[in-house]
């Protein structure tokens, strides 16, 4: 239990002295002397360090998933199978993997430094059985930056191998895998890394180590190690608690805190379209595979893309401790700049979201400098109920990037409530946003830009929901807010 154990390229490795806060990337390069996996940024923004990990889906089947090795701490691999670029070539047969051949044939590499990571992202695509639309290829590869090629040849290479599912050793391994316990604990000298697998163990740990911090996917927390070189002394991973991975559909949807963004995306596409819109551009696929609902909410970022989307949808936070569970409206969960309502000994166990009626107008938006893999300048979750007489009976307008916390726009909501759902009313509400927010200027956007965009999102929301109450993103769409044409064809 205090030994790190995972399968690397087909061989089980055990490490009892390597610090558990070592990232997989540093482990590969410094300990194993495997230099194929590159460091490009050490923050999950370039994808050069991509490797594949076998993860189990809701159906219990294992699939190769691309992740950023620079953000994965070794205990996060406990009992799992990892494949790095070194393993792809079949050295006995002297045969390259289809993803490698496709990349070379398309001249998808120039300087070649990003290439191993791109090949590993394409490796995942090779075994996916759910790649249907071209935009999914963009989504598959948007976590990999290439500075040389302009991406056209990489897209070409990816399109030739995506979903081809070769009958090779990597495919054959998958059905043989069984989920293994992630239980791990290493402690001593004021240091702790623990992955409990029962709540009793968790509560016990919290009593012994009230100063410990929580981690799940590590996509945010690992940056403290890789960018600031500050190692958190005590970490408790919630990833090993099976119950926290639950996604339940019903009159009130239950979203476990350890559900990954990728799992949420697949679920939301079927069950909660306005949320899906936010999740699609939430981040790169590598990030979506590791980032979780709980992690995103508990960082309590002023932007926090899930927060405004979920607040708009009327979500509640379910906080659990040894003594029981309490329910807090999500907007009340954020009590200040990067501060939450969590009390000592308490975790965010889940989020509950009421199901939407078919007539509810709802959408979520994320506006950033770059479409893919960027932090929002402004994000929004907007929801309006309109009765048979076209009068607004409910309005929830939540924005991120506009204040110290994700926040509802009460003045704008008031300007809508009880008034006819018309362009004039929306214009009043858009103007009322000035009373709700005084945003900051920074490198993601100036205050005037943020204010204008927030108002425009409301205007666009009115336009978008004229004919379709919950419009979905069209493939290859041009901007965050859809044109009428895109809504019709969506």
């Amino acid at each position: 239990m205090n030994t790190l154990r995972f399968n690397l390229n087909g061989t089980w490795v055990e490490e009892s002295t390597v610090p558990p806060t070592t990232t997989l990337l540093r482990y590969l390069r410094d300990v194993r002397r495997m230099s194929g996996t590159k460091e490009g940024c050490a923050e999950g923004d370039c994808g050069a360090c991509t490797v594949a990990v076998a993860e189990f889906g809701p159906d219990g089947r294992a699939t190769w998933r691309a992740v950023n090795s620079c953000l994965v701490l070794l205990p996060m691999l406990q009992g799992k199978h990892v494949v790095t670029v070194e393993a792809l070539k079949d050295t006995e047969e002297d045969a390259y993997h289809p993803a490698q051949v496709a990349m070379a044939k398309a001249l998808g590499s120039q300087c070649g430094y990003c290439t191993p990571g791109i090949v590993m992202a394409m490796f995942e695509a090779t075994y996916r059985d759910d790649l249907k639309a071209p935009w999914q290829l963009d989504d598959q590869l948007c976590g990999n930056l290439c500075r040389c090629t302009g991406y056209r040849p990489i897209r070409e290479a990816a399109s030739t191998i995506a979903g081809c599912r070769p009958d090779d050793r990597f495919a054959l391994t998958l059905p043989t895998l069984k989920p293994q316990s992630m239980r791990f604990r290493r402690e001593g000298d004021g240091v702790l890394f623990a992955t409990p697998t029962t709540f009793d163990e968790l509560w016990g740990l919290l009593e012994t180590h009230p100063d410990a911090r929580f981690v799940v996917g590590g996509t945010d927390l690992s940056l403290e190690i890789t960018k600031r070189f500050q190692v958190p002394p005590k970490l408790i991973s919630l990833e090993g608690l099976h119950e926290l991975h639950t996604l339940r559909t019903g009159p009130v949807h239950h979203l476990g805190c350890a559900v990954t963004i990728a799992e949420l995306e697949a679920w939301a596409e079927a069950h909660l379209k306005p949320l899906h819109r936010m999740v699609r551009y939430f981040g790169a696929r590598q990030i979506k595979h590791r980032g979780t609902i709980g992690g995103n909410l508990c960082t309590a970022s002023p932007i926090g893309d899930l927060a405004p989307a979920l607040i708009g949808l009327g979500a509640a936070a379910m906080l659990r401790s040894r003594v029981g569970e309490r329910r807090v409206p999500l907007e009340a969960f954020f009590v200040g700049y990067r501060k939450t309502a969590l009390q000592p000994g308490e975790i965010l166990a889940a989020v509950e979201v009421p199901a939407l009626s078919a007539t509810t107008r709802a959408a979520s938006y994320k506006v950033s400098k770059r479409r893919e893999l960027d932090i929002s300048a402004v994000s929004a979750g907007l929801l309006v109920e309109v009765d048979a007489k076209n009068v607004v009976t409910a309005a929830r307008l939540a924005f991120g990037g506009m204040a110290a916390t994700p926040k509802r726009a009460s003045h704008a909501e008031a300007a809508l409530l009880g008034n006819p759902w018309t362009e004039a009313t929306v214009e009043n509400a858009a103007n009322a946003l000035a009373q709700d927010f005084t945003p900051l200027s920074d490198h993601r956007g100036s205050a005037p830009y943020r204010s204008l965009v927030a108002a425009n999102l409301l205007r666009g929301f009115f336009d978008e929901t004229r004919d379709v109450p919950q419009p979905v993103l069209a493939p290859g769409h041009a901007a965050t807010v859809l044109t009428a044409e895109e809504v019709r064809h969506g």
Binding site: A104, Q110, C111, C114, R147, G150, Y449
Partner: protein, 791 residues
């Protein structure tokens, strides 16, 4: 374009039943794969940081200035030595030679001695057993600074008269008089922003002390000879004591032309002084904060037109932000001036330029080297003129192209010969279906309120040669072994651009071998000395001729040997062909000999099988005192059509379709050239739209990682991307009729700005100038839309 073939795979079967070669026996002008392509995909391709650690390797961390400008009152480098794992600390006093790394002007210290001039400037180097130990060592350094007022914006430097270089100029005719008479005259400012190179592999050098004393460096640099020179100056050694090798770079784009040298010199110093191998590697944030970028420019212009859009006169003053030291800023400014005409004849012109001195990292070479900044000015002027005069920008631009004399003279008095813009323009307008799409765009705009599309075509003309004329030289060294296998050395470095693939094709062509028989070696200063940087798009042009000459020399030595073996008279030796790995007389192909049979025989006959090659570009010159000359061997041309869609609610846009027609002469390797065109375009689009280098008012770089600095991502590539190379376009006096391709395509992205302006104009009434600043971020575009919509 045919299916590419691996440059490492066997070439087409050399002979038919009759023995005569058939098909593409030469890889030249063929669609080859990148010579390292498969190795890239498998992780086998090694970059400096990937090399196995030599015994006793030490690593290092640089102590840098935390402020933009200050006097150093005290620097204590003793305290870190008590930190476990720290082995040594070096600062200015430890430099045995010259404490200077300035590549041209000696105004850049290796370690700041008494004054720090930018936030991030090197002060000392902590060397230790691990990065962690070095970081603790850096924290233990005691540094007392006395803050001095700093200049952290270009505007402030201009206002305070802070300059590194002044009054570069080009002049022809009488711009002032022509402007006074111009029927239409307007003034304005054009700003272009900085750009981080964001090569995926950050700066890295490994230095290994060797006997003699001597030192061997393995460095990620575009300019190994300059690293060698600077290390020799820093150590006070002869250059013969230093060898610099470049395995390959994970991208360069100009950022490793001069700026690899300081960190390489630190590694060399530390290795020599500790007697142990030392690696200096910058992490992403350090690389972005400490090294220079593309120069931001501010240009103020005054331009005159006829009412129907004929440009009459241009007066412009350009200001480049050079940062704290000169680096290559003078030549970069010159190239901006050389490209302010782009492909337009400027009848009366006066342009002046200055390099401002600020307390920021020293800005440096970046693909285009000032050319894009100059070209952006004239393209913005053309767009603004069309907007003001309500003229078709396609026609307005065409009307101003260079033409027959006297409309063929550049502002630097070089004649534009073999101008290809008219041809490119006509062919691209037709192939992109421009006219019909113009109507479609207008129809879309008429029926959409919150989204508008824009369509534009812009040209590129880019001068090829180092404008410092003596740099236009290159060398090669080819080694043929008795078994017929070949090692090829040349002075150029591989950073992904495909130079090695092209050199391989040239050598294979000259020796009549399949590329699999030739190994391109690591670039090394002890194989080919006194080289120029792999820069200015010149890699293939210069090294290609040198490789050709070296291979020819060996081949010619083989001829008499082959004649003897073939049993033909010596006077027929000149008719012997080398192709498909065989050596034969054209009239007797059935008697072909394998290449290795000839080389084996040559070895036994005591014939030298290695040779050097050397090339210098003829007849180029420029006189700065008069602003006249012929700085360029030739011009490369291109044109691009861009269609964008802009959201009037958020300012976001998307490249719906891009059509490019580019002139690479007779392409050496068309697959490689296409990659350069596509990649250059998207990198240019990034500079002009999404990449924003932002410092705060203390000179701290806010955008120092990909979290905050956004380069184009996968989904930013044009939805529909059509690239063609101009056909039947062989160029005179270049290697196999080819043209340089590294930099010119970057400027094709100016078509995106023109298209964005067109889309923005669609939100308001026609006839007013669009107020769109660069980079055209969503914010810039949205405010331009607001201005266009304003009553």
């Amino acid at each position: 374009m045919a299916e590419p073939t691996p440059s490492s795979a066997k070439s087409t079967a050399p002979a038919t039943a009759k023995g005569a070669p058939e098909g593409p026996v030469t890889p030249l002008h063929q669609p080859l794969l990148h010579e390292s392509g498969l190795k890239h995909t498998s992780g086998e391709a090694k970059y400096v940081d990937d090399l196995p650690a030599p015994h006793g390797l030490l690593v290092a961390q640089v102590v840098t200035s935390p402020v933009a400008h200050a006097r150093i009152r005290r620097l204590d480098t003793v305290a870190p030595l008590t930190v476990p794992g720290v082995v040594a600390v070096f600062s200015a006093n430890d430099v045995p030679g010259t404490n200077d790394v300035g590549p041209v002007i000696h105004d850049e210290e290796l370690f700041a001695h008494d004054t720090v001039r930018y936030l991030g400037q090197s002060i000392a180097l902590v060397v230790g057993e691990s990065y962690e130990a070095c970081r603790r060592g850096v924290a233990a350094v005691k540094l007392e600074l006395e803050p001095l007022p700093g200049i952290v914006t270009l505007d402030e430097a201009i206002a305070k008269g802070s300059f590194l270089s002044k009054d570069h100029f080009l002049r022809r005719g009488d711009a002032a008089a022509a402007l006074a008479k111009a029927p239409v005259r307007f003034q304005g400012e054009v700003r272009t922003g900085g750009q981080d190179h964001f090569y995926l592999e950050t700066q890295c050098t490994l230095a290994i002390p060797e006997e003699g004393p001597s030192v061997r460096l393995v460095s990620s640099t575009q300019h190994p000879s300059e690293v060698q020179t600077i290390v020799s100056q820093v150590l006070g050694w002869g250059r013969h004591q230093i060898v610099v090798e470049v395995p390959r770079m994970g991208g360069g784009f100009g950022g490793k032309e001069t700026q690899a040298a300081p960190y390489a010199a630190m590694a060399a110093l530390a290795a020599v002084r500790t007697g142990r191998p030392v690696k200096v590697w910058l992490n992403r944030d350090q690389d972005m904060m400490w090294t220079g970028k593309r120069h931001p420019f501010l240009t103020r212009f005054d331009v005159g037109f006829t009412i129907d859009g004929q440009l009459l006169a241009l007066d412009a003053e350009l200001f480049a932000d050079g940062g704290f030291s000169t680096d290559l800023s003078r030549a970069i400014l010159d190239r901006a001036l050389f490209h302010i005409d782009n492909t337009y004849f400027l009848p009366d012109v006066s342009v002046r330029g200055h390099v401002a001195k600020t307390n920021l990292p020293s800005n440096t070479a970046f693909r285009g080297f000032g050319g894009p900044q100059g070209m952006a000015v004239i393209e913005d002027i053309m767009s603004r003129a069309a907007e003001r005069l309500q003229l078709d920008p396609v026609e307005l631009r065409r009307k101003n192209f260079y033409g027959p004399a006297p409309r063929n003279l550049t502002p630097f008095w070089q004649e534009v010969k073999d101008a290809r813009t008219e041809r490119l323009w006509a062919e691209l307008l037709a192939s992109s279906d421009y006219a019909a799409r113009r109507r479609q765009v207008d129809a879309f705009n008429a029926s959409h309120r919150h989204a508008k599309r824009g369509l534009a075509i812009t040209p590129v003309k880019f001068g090829i040669s180092f404008t410092t004329s003596f740099l236009n030289q290159a060398g090669a060294f080819v080694v043929v072994y008795a078994d017929g296998s070949v090692q090829l050395n040349h002075g150029g470095t591989e950073m992904g651009q495909g130079l090695h693939t092209k050199m391989l094709a040239i050598a294979a062509h000259e020796l009549g071998l399949g590329p699999e028989r030739i190994r391109v070696m690591t670039t090394a200063t002890d194989k080919v000395p006194n080289t120029s940087a792999t820069a200015a798009s010149s890699g293939s042009d210069l090294n290609g001729f040198a490789v050709k000459q070296a291979c020819e020399t060996v081949r010619e030595r083989l001829r008499p040997v082959a004649a003897r073996l073939l049993g033909v008279p010596a006077d027929t030796a000149s008719g012997i062909l080398f192709a498909g790995g065989r050596v034969f007389l054209g009239s007797r192909p059935e008697l072909a000999l394998p290449f290795e049979k000839v080389t084996q025989e040559a070895y036994l006959a005591q014939v030298s099988l290695s040779a050097t090659g050397y090339y210098r570009t003829p007849d180029i010159h420029f006189d700065k005192a008069t602003g006249r000359g012929k700085p360029f061997h030739y011009f490369a041309y291109g044109a691009a059509v861009c269609e964008v869609e802009v959201s009037g609610l958020t300012g976001e846009h998307r490249l719906r379709r891009v059509d490019i027609l580019h002139d690479v002469g007779a392409s050496l390797v068309p697959t490689i050239d296409r990659g350069q065109v596509e990649g250059g375009f998207l990198q240019g689009w990034g500079w002009l739209t999404v990449e924003e280098v932002r410092f705060d008012d203390k000179g701290f770089l806010r955008t120092h990682s990909p979290d905050t600095y956004k380069i184009p991502a996968f989904g930013d590539a044009p939805v529909d991307f059509r690239v063609a190379l101009l056909e039947n376009a062989a160029q005179d006096a270049t290697i196999h009729g080819s043209k340089a391709v590294g930099e010119p395509p970057l400027m094709l992205a100016l078509s995106a700005v023109a298209a964005l302006r067109d889309a923005v104009a669609g939100f308001g009434p026609r006839g007013r100038e669009v107020r769109l600043s660069m980079p055209c971020t969503p914010e810039a575009v949205l405010f331009a839309v607001e201005a266009a919509r304003a009553p």
